[in-house]
């Protein structure tokens, strides 16, 4: 256990009673004493606070920054303007997903890539090994930053009390630099919960300060106050919102098209790694597609369970779980394209019992926009 990596908030999680687990080599809280159910619900109804400092931050700076990142990722970086971010994916030569990421444009010579924790080293190798003679400098700044997400209907109000930046002026998937309780920070209207909210990046040394101020300002301890939320709630929140998790819905062997990420796969933008194969696959038609399902029979589908139609194994569950807010048992699964239709009945092998489920639209949960 001594070799696990720690975020700058490790001690804080322990003081809050966080149940610590090994998450891809990181010592992270899976839940706090309130439990995953309450942490999930509170994020949907008030606010949840998440330590996501384990995520990786990579700077790409120089006159070829946009050209370089555009060659490595599926979304069209040329469409971003200063202060805007987008969701994207690195793809390999076969069109599989090396990682999914956020690309932030600070200016035309400065981009920030935010990548998954467990893949930061792999991504760093991928990025640096694909640098040719472009005029760019690459910096893996992951250890320098903390990243704290405040999410939920009260998130904006809580963070606003700690900053002079006018948060209402920041649209979804836009960001700015500013100060949070005096600390220089990147303030980004993004998240992984399906709720409104922000992700705040700051120097690691200020992590505890920002975290504690957000808890205090959010009335942590009150029955309708902010709650720190662990990895378990982060996972159920993203699943209800139909978002992908690398290693589950996405991997080196899964294309973004199959995973339902055609909307970030801009085949017309020009060449990028894996583009030609992806275009050919799209032309030919996809063999399999990711679908959402909900259980009809009582029982819970879990990751990697097999999916059957007419006693034939046709696919597998990529993520399956109870959905605490929807109070259903839901999941995402790969199915042959011919069966990937809303209403299709499927059977899921739950420890030897074939339980009925049906394909439903995603996201399972969509917040009401104000």
């Amino acid at each position: 256990m001594e070799n696990l990596k720690k975020t700058p908030l490790n001690e804080v999680h322990r003081e809050l009673g966080g149940k610590m687990v090994d998450f891809g080599g990181w010592d992270m809280p899976v839940q706090y004493p309130a439990g995953v159910m309450e942490e999930h619900l509170r994020t949907r109804t008030a606010a949840g606070l998440f330590d996501v400092s384990h995520m990786g931050e990579i700077w790409v700076e120089g006159s070829d920054a946009i050209v370089f990142v555009n060659r490595l990722t599926t979304n069209d970086v040329t469409q971003l303007v200063d202060g805007q971010a987008h969701y994207s994916a690195f793809t390999n030569e076969k069109g599989g997903v090396v990682d999914d990421l956020l690309v932030y444009r600070f200016d035309q010579n400065k981009l920030l890539l935010v990548v998954n924790a467990g893949t930061t080293e792999k991504d760093w190798y991928w990025i640096t090994s694909h640098k040719k003679d472009e005029d760019i400098a690459l910096t893996n700044a992951s250890a320098d930053y903390c990243q704290i997400a405040v999410q939920g209907p009260n998130a904006v109000g809580i963070l606003q009390q700690l900053t002079e930046t006018k948060l209402d002026e920041i649209k979804y998937y836009w960001f700015t630099t500013g100060r949070v309780d005096g600390v220089e920070a990147i303030i980004s209207r993004t998240g992984y919960t399906g709720e409104d909210g922000f992700e705040v990046y700051a120097a690691a040394e200020f992590a505890e300060h920002i975290w504690n101020m957000l808890l205090k300002t959010g009335n942590y301890g009150d029955s309708d106050g902010i709650l720190p939320a662990g990895l378990a709630a982060r996972n159920t929140l993203r699943l209800e919102s139909g978002m992908s998790l690398y290693g589950h819905e996405l991997s080196d062997d899964i294309t973004p098209l199959e995973a339902g990420l055609g909307w970030i796969t801009k085949l017309q933008k020009g060449d990028f790694i894996g583009r030609d194969l992806l275009a050919a696959k799209k032309e030919k038609g996809l063999d399999r597609k990711l679908v959402g399902f909900e259980m009809i029979d009582r029982g819970i589908a879990r990751d990697d369970f097999d999916v059957y139609i007419d006693d034939q194994k046709v696919g597998y569950v990529t993520s399956g779980s109870p959905a605490p807010f929807l109070k259903k048992n839901i999941g995402l699964a790969f199915l042959p394209s011919e069966f990937a239709n809303i209403g299709q009945e499927i059977k899921i092998d739950v420890r030897g019992k074939h339980l009925a489920a049906k394909v439903v639209p995603t996201p399972f949960y969509k917040r009401e926009k104000k």
Binding site: V30, Q31, G35, V36, M37, H40, A232, T236, R298, G299, I300, R302, S321, P322, P324, N329, R351
Partner: protein
């Protein structure tokens, strides 16, 4: 964290408890077990009349995050199943020793329960292994 371990029950190393009343044993999971699992959301129960061997799995209990099989520490026939838990699985977290028993078993050999751990022994087992 102090574990809640009532003295009047017998315990297994799989973290089940047994309450003996004559030759019938009520079986549930311990406070330690419910705490390890987290929020219980689903229980897969056996049927009345099923016959169980000692240490046989008779069902499963699922939390948001995890699935755990439940074993019977005593051999016998299931005479009652706590169907009420289907609608209120959270009782397993709230009161693991009270209303949240899973099944009642008519024991083939009431000596099975005597061979289980006492509360004191279970507490020692937990502090040594958990």
């Amino acid at each position: 964290m102090a574990n809640n371990i009532p003295e009047n029950l017998r315990y297994s190393k799989d973290h089940e408890w047994v309450l003996v009343d004559g030759d019938v044993a009520s079986i549930g999971i311990t406070d330690y077990a419910q705490h390890s699992l987290g929020d219980v959301v689903y229980i897969d129960m056996p049927r009345v009349g099923d016959k169980l061997g000692s240490h046989e799995a008779f069902g499963s209990v699922e939390s948001v995050k995890a699935v755990s099989e439940i074993f019977t520490p005593v051999a016998g026939e299931i005479v009652e199943v706590n169907d009420g838990l289907n609608d209120t699985p959270e009782k397993v977290n709230a009161d693991p020793y009270g209303d949240a028993w899973f099944i009642k078993v008519k024991m083939d050999n009431p000596g099975d329960a005597d061979a289980m751990l006492s509360g004191e022994e279970y507490e020692e087992y937990l502090s040594a292994n958990a």
